[in-house]
């Protein structure tokens, strides 16, 4: 492979230092890269300056590299209320990353737009929910990268071999026995939220081995697993979970894997998590679902739940531009539009400048979003199942369970 340019040299410098810090055994070749730190709302002026400087060094990605959501929908920004000043900065971030050879997929679910790694494949992904999904559900191998370390991997196709890239680094730290019903994806997110906090003090932020729970069959299965991982990656720093009888490594090694765990915990109720996440007060400004970004199956479910009814308050569904285009081709988008729901792409509720948009109170089915919105945006959050969110959109108020 040919590496050229000062940008790739800078990348190697970063990777070598990170390898040294983590006691890595050399480098490993990666199959794909997901870059975070794309929203101008998060990285600010200095992040932008850094990316433009790096892009100016003339090196480009040598593997398939994709982008996390930015701060705004590139197509609908004006009608959604984003300012032109913000858009200009956001477009400069995207241009700098494209200059580094990173594709503007602008989604936290690269696995929904053709970048799903294979079982056992090494990748270098940033975006905590995607890391958890890739490691746990797909059985790929990635550490929790940050923006610059992911770009460094893209420019060199390498990442330091340590922690979640190694067999021993993927052994569970704790068996978590679940003794309550975890039915909806919102429940799975709540369980993830509780587990993330529970295992935070374990080695490397914790690798839970879950028993006594399984995802629902059918359309909601993947959404449930996505929500579970996103929840624990947000409240803690979990990059991998094993689910007994379900996830690939748990299936392959069974209880032998669980035997490595040094600790045991039992979760008997989701009530504490629901109380912590559902703290909404007053009028709802926005019903927002699709964190992580909605899949084509999610869009079908929402269309079914709306069943032709109209939303009385703003109802945004965040999804990848690629998935939106598919929905437009297949007619799902038309049905949603008729109900007044808006498919929003290239951004999400966690990284968009909500305050600038005048959004103070949000209803959502995402535990990850419910965890971040109060601290990142000072927003008040109603949290519940997708069904309750659709009802909130249709009736204009949050209906207590």
């Amino acid at each position: 492979m040919k590496l050229s340019g000062a940008g790739a040299a800078k990348a190697m410098e970063i990777l070598t230092a990170l390898g040294r810090i983590h006691g890595a055994r050399g480098m490993v070749e990666v199959g794909s890269v997901q870059v975070s730190g794309v929203s101008y709302n998060n990285i600010g002026e200095h992040g932008l300056a850094f990316l433009e400087e790096w892009a100016g060094m003339g090196s480009r990605a040598v593997v398939n590299a994709t982008m996390n959501p930015g701060g705004a929908d590139r197509r609908l920004w004006k009608s959604l209320g984003f300012s032109q000043g913000f858009i200009r900065k956001q477009e400069r971030v995207i241009a700098a990353l494209e200059g580094l050879g990173i594709k503007p997929t602008l989604t936290c679910t690269p696995y929904h737009v053709g970048a799903a790694p294979k079982l056992g494949e090494h990748v270098a992904w940033a975006e905590s929910s995607a890391v958890c999904f890739a490691n746990s559900v797909l059985g790929a191998r990635t550490n929790r990268e940050g923006g610059p370390s992911a770009i460094a991997a893209a420019l060199t196709s390498m990442t330091p071999r340590h922690t979640l890239h190694t067999d021993e680094g993927r052994l569970p730290t704790r068996i978590v026995e679940v003794r309550c019903a975890v039915g909806t994806s919102a429940d799975a997110g709540t369980l993830g939220y509780l587990i993330g906090r529970l295992v935070a003090s374990d080695r490397g932020g914790g690798i839970p081995y879950l028993m006594g729970v399984e995802p629902p069959a059918g359309l909601e299965c993947l959404a449930w697993l996505k929500a579970l991982g996103a929840g624990m990656a947000a409240s803690g720093s979990v990059g991998l979970f094993h689910l007994d009888g379900v996830t690939p490594e748990a299936l392959a090694h069974g209880r032998k894997l669980a035997a490595a765990a040094k600790r045991n915990s039992v979760i008997t109720s989701l009530a504490e998590g629901r109380r912590a996440l559902n703290c909404g007060k007053g009028r709802i400004d926005l019903v927002a679902v699709g964190c992580p970004h909605a899949s084509p199956e999610d869009l079908e479910r929402i269309t079914g739940l709306l069943n032709g009814r109209k939303a009385r308050i703003p109802f945004w569904i965040f999804t990848a531009e690629d998935v939106r285009r598919r929905a437009e081709a297949e007619g799902t988008a038309a049905a949603l539009k008729k109900s007044g729901a808006i498919l929003v792409s290239d951004t999400c509720m966690v990284v968009a400048p909500l305050k600038e948009l005048g959004i103070m109170t949000v209803a959502t089915d995402s535990a990850k979003a419910a965890f971040y919105l109060p601290s990142h945006h000072g927003a008040s959050v109603y949290f519940g199942s997708l069904e309750r969110n659709v009802e909130a959109a249709v009736r204009g108020v949050w209906v207590s369970a």
């Binding site: 410098e13 970063i14 230092a17 040294r20 810090i21 975070s36 600010g44 200095h46 300056a49 940050g146």
Partner: protein, 144 residues
């Protein structure tokens, strides 16, 4: 000659300055203003102190991954510390140090570096001017 401490090299270089020390972890994003270099966090030992040109000594960083860019911002605005010495350097500080060109060493016993001491960083070596010498110097200044 002062105390010599050996650490682990994060980003190489030479620097000399007076130590600005915190026994509490440092939050980069939201606390350290990249335009002025002033740290702000109520109740924190570094509250309202500028880091520019100092040898920043702290146990570890805390908070958002965007912290790397805060260090880069400091370097751009000319308010970066001369060097950083940590007990434990994480990915965020390491990446920040490299992209900003700030000499950085970790795995140093920071209890041996008093606030305000004159410190030299030479690669992974940290030289702390001894208290004894400082005291002598002060006495000399005050009493001739």
């Amino acid at each position: 000659m002062g105390k010599r401490l050996k650490g682990r090299l994060i980003f190489g270089g030479s620097a000399e300055g007076s130590a600005l020390k915190s026994d509490a972890p440092l939050g980069l994003f939201g606390h350290l203003d990249p335009r002025t270099g002033v740290y702000r966090e109520a109740g924190h030992p570094l509250d309202r102190k500028p880091v520019k040109g100092r040898i920043l000594v702290f146990p570890r960083a805390k908070g958002s991954t965007v912290g790397s860019y805060i260090l880069y911002g400091l370097a751009r605005s000319g308010h970066a510390p001369a060097a950083m010495i940590l007990a434990e350097c994480d990915t965020i500080v390491a990446v920040g140090a490299i992209i900003s060109g700030i000499p950085t060493v970790d795995q140093v016993d920071i209890s041996r570096i008093p606030d305000g001491a004159t410190v030299k960083v030479r690669g992974k070596e940290v030289i702390v001017e001894s208290h004894q010498r400082l005291r002598q110097a002060r006495r000399f200044l005050h009493h001739g």
